[in-house]
């Protein structure tokens, strides 16, 4: 099926994603553990957001819901105008293939594919035209054009994560989700990777939601969501004060100017 760029919600203020009164429970031992309890959050398109909270607060659960890898027990999940909770597993998988980009904490490159093949993986699955050209351009953008033919085990952690970023962006997704993208890197490398992720996202006008433990990164983002006890109990943008429980997050400061 020929690939067509995912529609990015154009008008400023249109939400890239929205969770409304979402509840998610898991079986644990003999009972149930409620991870999300009527949580709500939304973010406009074209923004960079951070999702923070203690371990076990439900950050990964939110990523799973937004990517369609999981379904809520109650509530709705909307991404790029599509209700994911109303789709079948197969429909969610195919949606994820075309509308979501993922950057994992541990890179998760396919070890038996070269760097270039990793980047164009989803383009090839969708039989997109000029997959090689697009992959090459992205690799050049992330500074790894000369490693296109190498296998991942020959790359450093930072280099692998840059490849992962290129892979996540190759199919022009509506939403990029990054799960602690610098969690497995040293501080300096992590900073460089974060710079790259932020730059490339803003260049493309894309939307990025990062899970992070590093509060120092919050200076870079447009929106911050804080998870606690199953709810988005505090949402604050840079410099903005909180509006109260489950309020929509208002961007407090204008987005950073795109870097050349």
């Amino acid at each position: 099926m020929p690939h067509s760029p995912s529609p990015i919600p154009g008008a400023a203020g249109a939400d890239a994603f929205a969770l409304a009164d979402v509840t998610r429970r898991y079986r644990e031992g003999g009972g149930w553990r409620t991870v999300l309890d009527g949580a709500s959050m939304a973010m406009p398109a074209g923004r960079i957001g951070a999702l923070v909270g203690p371990s076990g607060a439900g950050k990964s659960t939110i990523l799973n819901l937004l990517s369609g890898m999981d379904r809520p027990d109650a509530g709705t999940v909307t991404v790029a105008g599509t209700r994911l909770d109303a789709l079948s597993e197969r429909e969610r998988t195919l949606f994820r293939r075309t509308h979501i980009g993922f950057v994992f904490q541990f890179y998760n490159l396919v070890p038996t594919l070269t760097v270039e093949e990793n980047v164009r993986f989803l383009l090839d699955l969708a039989r997109a035209p000029d997959a090689r050209g697009r992959a090459a351009a992205l690799l050049a953008r992330v500074g790894l054009a000369d490693r296109a033919g190498a296998f991942p085990d020959r790359l450093s952690g930072g280099e692998q994560q840059r490849v992962a970023i290129a892979r996540a962006l190759a199919h022009d997704p509506a939403l990029v989700l990054a799960d602690e993208p610098t969690g497995d890197l040293d501080a300096a490398t992590g900073l460089r990777v974060l710079d790259l992720l932020e730059e490339v996202t803003r260049e493309r006008g894309g939307t990025l939601l990062m899970v992070t433990h590093d509060r120092s990164l919050l200076d870079r983002v447009d929106v911050v969501f804080e998870l606690s006890e199953g709810r988005v109990v505090e949402s604050e943008g840079r410099g903005a004060k909180g509006e109260g429980t489950d309020a929509r997050i208002a961007p407090a400061t204008p987005p950073l100017a795109p870097r050349p």
């Binding site: 990964s60 990523l63 799973n64 990517s67 890898m69 999981d70 597993e89 197969r90 998988t93 195919l94 994820r96 293939r97 075309t98 979501i100 993922f102 994992f104 904490q105 541990f106 998760n108 396919v110 070890p111 038996t112 594919l113 093949e117 164009r120 993986f121 989803l122 090839d124 699955l125 085990d153 892979r167 799960d179």
Partner: protein, 851 residues
Amino acid sequence: MLARSSRRYLTRHPWLTALAVVGVAVGVAVGVAVDLANASALRAFALSGEALTGRATHRVVGGPGGIPGSLAAPLARVAQAAPVVEGAVRPARDPGRVLTVLGVDPFAEADFRPFLGRPGGDGRGGAGLDAPAFLTVPGAVALSEGTAAALGVAAGDTLGLRVDGRPVTARVVGLIAPEDERSASALDGLFVADVATAQEWFGLAGAGGGRLSRIDLILPDDAAGDAALARVRALLPAGAEVRPASDQAGTLATMTAAFRLNLTALSRLALVVGLFLIYNTVTFAVVQRRRVLATYRALGVTRGETFRLVLAESLAVGTVGTALGLALGVWLGTGLVRLVTQTVTDLYFVVHVRELALDPGSLARGALLGLGASALGAILPGWEAAATAPATALRRSTGEDRLAANAGRLAAGGGLLAALGGAVLALPWGLAAAFVGLLLVILGVALAVPLVTRAFARIAAPVAGAVLGPVGRMAARGIETGLSRTAVAVAALAVAVAATVGVSTMVTSFRTTVEEWLTSVLQSDVYVSPPATVFRRGGAVLDSALVARLSALPGVARTDAVRVRTLDAEQPPFDLVAVRLDATRAGLYRYLDGSAEAAVARRDEAVLVSEPFARRNGVWAGDSVTVLTDAGRRALPVSAVYADFGNDLGVVLLDEALLARFVADDPGPTGLALTAAPGTAPEALVARARAAADGVQTVDVRSNRALREASLEVFDRTFVVTQVLRLLAVGVAFVGVLSALMALMLERRRELAMLRAQGMLPGEMRAMVVAQTALMGLLAGLVALPLGLVLAAGLVYVVNVRSFGWTLAFVVSPGVLVGAVALAVGAAVVAGLYPAWAMARTPPAEALRDG
């Protein structure tokens, strides 16, 4: 892109991939080899049957004495008719070889067997048999060029033969050049002689044309043919019948059906074990790539695509393995066909196989089985791969071991499957169903192995720790942590060893039963008979002068004659055996129905039947059997059913006086049993009997013990094929264990490297790996024992009875059980040696980096 990734994965693990290919290849090869060997034997018999039958549409056959030769002329006046005398001979200087003699009328043959040509030729095939030479030269024979070359004779040579142990001389007056390969195969081992020559050789000569084996007819398939058939019937005396010639084509298949099915079932065992190997390899590939598969799913690869990916990988390996297996199977078949041919000749009838016939059906079946097993072995791991939670990609650990989590459910399912198998075995649904039942039992027990393995590992850990210290404890615990690999390896080895236990126990039971039977029925001291062409088929007659001499020997207290007539006219053939059925004789048998007293009381009008005959024909005491005698078809009441392991086709046993009423001419006994008088040593009687036979007839003179040993030797020979197949199954299991252990070691590279990095010595690491594999082998052996005994019970009480009609005693040999456990432990330890060596010598830094 997915396919490319898979291909590279397989090539990056060449040893594991190669082992899986080997497993499939051997499994396919064994099945194909047995199929081809069976098909070749069938084809060879069919071809020789075609040669012997030619274009005949019907044949006139008779009872034990054949049909009168005087019938030929009147039949020739109403239809195209050709008299035939058929029998077997052995070359004097190669008594191990058996040849078929076809006695024909050269002037009547042209339309029946055109490959023999028309009379008046110069002795070469195509131009025909040299009729004048046939009629004038004593002992004249024609044979194919191939047979002549094999015997080292040419046209004009003489050849010494033995007919029922009596010397005769044949003179080669012509060579037949077959038109094609098919004809050449059909003519293998065939001597063509004049009817009179054959009658003389086989003791069928006499006044009024003597007797014939049969008269072949060609009747057109129309109203004229029907009318001719009616006229033929009107001419037939009592004791002769006309049958379609095609009846005989099914005879071979029917006679050997059970034997072939048993071989086929055993050959499939190697493939079943190969199935575990495929499952193990595919599972390893899934488990090792769990993060990659989770990444695929997280990126947007669907469940269906993931399942198809795993299936395609397995089929790729399976295709290579199958192709290799087909080639290997053909090679293996060339060796196996000789064993199968020998067994068929020993047990049923003479068959010559020149070469392995490459039956396309057998090859296609082998290919389908190999690919089918590859697909089947990938289903569970493929499903597991497809069910991989994409969220797993977000986590560092690769998640719980599904097999460990489902071990209880699998065991419950396995229990149900085994119970179903037992039910199928118990129901009277035929032989194929019995094998299906056994397979269900095997699979059911295999499903329970993960649970058993986990329990065993937990019990073994403290024990191994006490014996070997931390190394022992880690060895045992490692079995549980790598359950999805170790359990499969244990299951594969357990199944193969269980098959060993099952088959060995069955063979032991069989042998013990036969030994006891021989001991009970062989009560005389000396046995005399002409050498048999087919071991279990009778018919060769003792010279009457010899019989008189033997009966008059000093030191003989009692002489018992036996007359065995093989009734080839019956479908399927069976033996008619006549003895002096007195209380002494009747008391030798073990009865399943009726009694010795009933048998003796009714000996002048009723018969006994052997157990195989009773089961095959559904005939028991109180029923009756119809037999085509020289006096016509007779319904004879059955007084008893007795155990007889000499013949799986069946025996009708009757008193010699009763036989005399149905046989036109009595050619004499086919065997004589001498009981020594008190004070006469059996060895002395053997010597006297040999001296009496010297110069009269070549006979086998055996003491009681020698006859028993000879019988058991044939018995052992018939199970050679079984033993070979069993070993091959164990070989595949060994490959499976090796593959599983290597997979386990690869997975644990990083963990083991950390142990080395912290100070574990290479020797300690080797000890840990070897201890682990020894424990796995021990578990496999322990699982194999009960499973093997269940298989043995199925083989003894169900399969054997349905195949051959024999009730056997169930005999468990402690040696077999101990040997099985030793085999399992030994195979596992040997399989673990290379992984142990490889892991111990890998530098820790390298393994830590690669992990």
